[in-house]
């Protein structure tokens, strides 16, 4: 077993810096956190601790992790119902997320939202939207507000390939391009909208062509490769923050698990899923890093240990949280005080 010092030396040999190493560990750790956290969610769903709809991000972790590297704390995020990963990586507390799924009042949305509606004002995490395509106009508006207020902030909006067929997608793309507002559209193209494959949803399946038809800057990237996603996202965010208008980043990825806990997966065959699993963003990145001498097996074990601890802490926190009193049922229909 190598010591910490010798690891650094090995990395140096391979021509990588400590910064690279730290960053690789960070990326890997982030992806593993999502994966393990969600595996626990699935378990808790079976144990009936979590209810309602639960959409897992298995296989797509490189997208959230890669993209969110490019954002700064003042930026805003609009996500979908498949947003545990985005919330975790954005820095929403795992305990608060887990408590939310338990329906406890210490949850990040006070137990009112559940899995599909994670919110956090501190990190400008604007949800958690369970209407496909519904977040896109909001993102345009958040970006419009920034533009009007002369703030160099970016709004980053995640949505799926299915959302691209919605009218709201078109209206949002046109408005964003017309008004040149600072929004980064991230299309998580996992080839399926529930059970409907891309080819049954879109006349043209290269989704960057949709963006290009508004003269919007765009790029497609391998969504299974976290570094590639990060690089593309940094370029995109620089463009947007520079005031050059919106940007469309398509991340080509795949969902390893069912759409939700109710999905019998009749619409795709096992072989296809297995084929994609070979491209698992965690495995591929982890092997690459280990081969390149950036990280060691021990690092991986440490990450797994730490993540397991973090997940367990989140569960323990959620378990210990409390139920909102019934008398409070009608709160938050309207605000309790005027906002300044």
């Amino acid at each position: 077993m190598r010591t910490k010092g010798s690891k650094k030396a090995a990395a140096k040999e391979a021509g990588v810096t400590a910064v690279d190493r730290e960053h690789a560990l960070h990326l890997l750790r982030s992806m593993i956190l999502i994966r393990r956290f969600e595996a626990k969610c699935a378990e808790l769903y079976s144990a009936m601790k979590i209810r309602g709809f639960l959409h897992l991000y298995d296989g797509e972790e490189a997208v959230a992790v890669g993209v969110l590297q490019a954002l700064t704390p003042e930026d805003a995020i609009v996500a979908t119902y498949r947003e545990h990963g985005h919330a975790l990586i954005r820095g929403v507390s795992p305990g608060a997320i887990m408590a939310e799924m338990y329906g406890k009042q210490e949850g990040c949305s006070r137990g009112r939202g559940g899995s599909m509606h994670l919110f956090d004002d501190r990190t400008r995490f604007y949800g958690g939207n369970a209407i496909v395509g519904g977040g896109l106009p909001l993102a345009v508006g958040l970006a419009l507000a920034d533009k009007m207020q002369g703030k160099a902030r970016v709004t980053c909006c995640f949505f799926g390939d299915g959302a691209v067929a919605e009218g709201e997608f078109h209206e949002s793309m046109n408005l964003a391009a017309l008004w040149k507002v600072p929004v980064l559209f991230v299309c998580e193209n996992n080839l399926y909208a529930m059970g409907t494959a891309l080819k049954y949803s879109h006349a043209v399946q290269d989704l960057t062509r949709r963006a290009a038809s508004y003269d919007m800057a765009c790029e497609a990237v391998d969504g299974m490769d976290v570094s590639a996603v990060e690089t593309a996202a940094r370029k995109a965010v620089a463009f947007v923050r520079g005031g050059e208008g919106p940007y469309f980043l398509e991340c080509r990825t795949y969902r390893f698990r069912a759409h939700s806990m109710f999905d019998a997966e009749l619409y795709r065959n096992k072989a296809e899923v297995e084929e994609w699993k070979k491209r698992c963003p965690i495995e591929t990145f982890s092997s690459r890093c280990r081969e390149g001498g950036l990280i060691s097996d021990e690092d991986l074990a440490t990450i797994e240990r730490e993540v397991a601890h973090e997940v367990n802490e989140a569960v323990a926190f959620a378990e210990a949280c409390t139920w909102e009193p019934l008398e409070d049922l009608t709160r938050f229909v309207y605000s309790e005080r005027r906002r300044p």
Binding site: E100, G103, G114, M116, A130, I131, Y267
Partner: protein, 334 residues
């Protein structure tokens, strides 16, 4: 609940809807089913599971996520001689198609002075109770019932789940069928040869003399359960299943109130401006002098549906609340 003397069998509400779709498609070559994930996925509530294989892609059409587009296309297909059954996964997403439903389906016949009717059937899941939170839990049956030009039906029994679809397809005008998602797993007895049922009258699902409980869809089941409990206490409730929210069969509930002199309406919709308000107002207008006590309503609490189970339960009408209100109404002025 069926009064048929024929052989009976057990069937779920979900299966009953599936049978109705299969039967309609086999019976009439103009009928087809379209919607998101109705084919390869088998329907988001597994209603159409298996139908793609059985009936083929020409009759079971998966659509992209384009509610306005495919509901509008359904209206166009209806104008063009077909008899589409359009499935919108839940009534919450039908808001994306509200323009097509209100601005086209509901008014085409009228705007054209009677020339063009729109024989479309739009099915959607409705209701809460499954912890899917604010954007997925609305009960909008009554809200849509405000709109002239469409018909709104809310089947509460396996018999109606099986029988209303064909009648709706035969109707020359747009019919919206609201299937409460809480009912899909409900089992019931259905006649082996069950067929079409009318879609323009209410039914008395339980005879009684002390009070009339007026309800529909999932709340009807709760009302019937409450009536059983009340019966043990000697309170004999008559339970009415509205079945169709537009046009409203007021005759049935007015006659019942004429007999019982008391009424409670149980409605999963929010209270303000609900279909239950309409029923109360109709009784006010045409049954005022029959009343021994003011008509009461039990509706969903006026709050977007919270995720947490205890809050959701508290937001929805429940059997114990029905029982409590009835007790107070019958006790106080009995």
């Amino acid at each position: 609940m069926s009064t048929s003397t024929h052989a009976m069998r057990k069937i779920t509400y979900r299966e009953a809807v599936r049978e109705a779709i299969r039967d309609a498609i086999q019976k009439d070559e103009r009928v087809f089913l379209m919607g998101e994930d109705v084919g390869r996925y088998g329907g988001c509530f597994a209603v159409s599971k298996g139908l793609l294989d059985e009936l083929g892609p020409a009759r079971i059409l998966d659509t992209p996520l384009s509610e306005s587009g495919f509901v509008g296309a359904g209206i166009g297909a209806a104008l063009g001689g077909m008899r589409p059954i359009v499935e919108v996964m839940t009534c919450n997403f039908s808001l994306l198609a509200a323009d097509q439903i209100l601005n086209n389906a509901a008014v085409y016949l009228h705007m054209s002075g009677g020339l063009f009717n729109v024989p479309i059937v739009i099915r959607m899941a409705t209701g809460g109770g499954r912890q899917v939170a604010a954007q997925h839990s609305r009960c909008l049956d009554g809200w849509y019932a405000h709109i002239p030009g469409i018909k709104v039906v809310s089947p509460a029994t396996v018999e109606d789940a099986r029988g209303m679809l064909w009648t709706a397809l035969e109707d020359p005008d747009p019919v919206l069928i609201f299937e409460n998602s809480g009912l899909y797993n409900m089992e019931g007895e259905l006649a082996v040869d069950a067929g079409p049922v009318d879609i323009d009258s209410a039914r008395i699902r339980r005879q009684g003399k002390h009070i009339t409980l007026i309800s529909y869809s999932a709340s009807l089941i709760k009302s019937l359960d409450a009536a059983e409990i009340l019966a043990r206490e000697g309170i004999d409730a008559e339970v009415i299943d509205l079945r169709t929210l537009r046009p409203l069969d007021e005759k049935t509930f007015l006659e019942s109130v004429g007999k019982t002199h008391r009424a409670l309406i149980i409605d999963e919709g929010w209270r303000s401006g609900s279909i239950s308000a309409e029923i109360s107002a109709r009784i006010m207008e045409s049954g005022f002098f029959d009343l021994d006590a003011p008509v009461q309503r039990l509706c969903s609490v006026e709050v977007p549906m919270p995720y947490a189970k205890h809050l959701e339960d508290a937001a929805l009408p429940q059997v114990d609340k029905i029982v409590d209100i009835v007790r107070s109404m019958v006790g106080a002025n009995g």
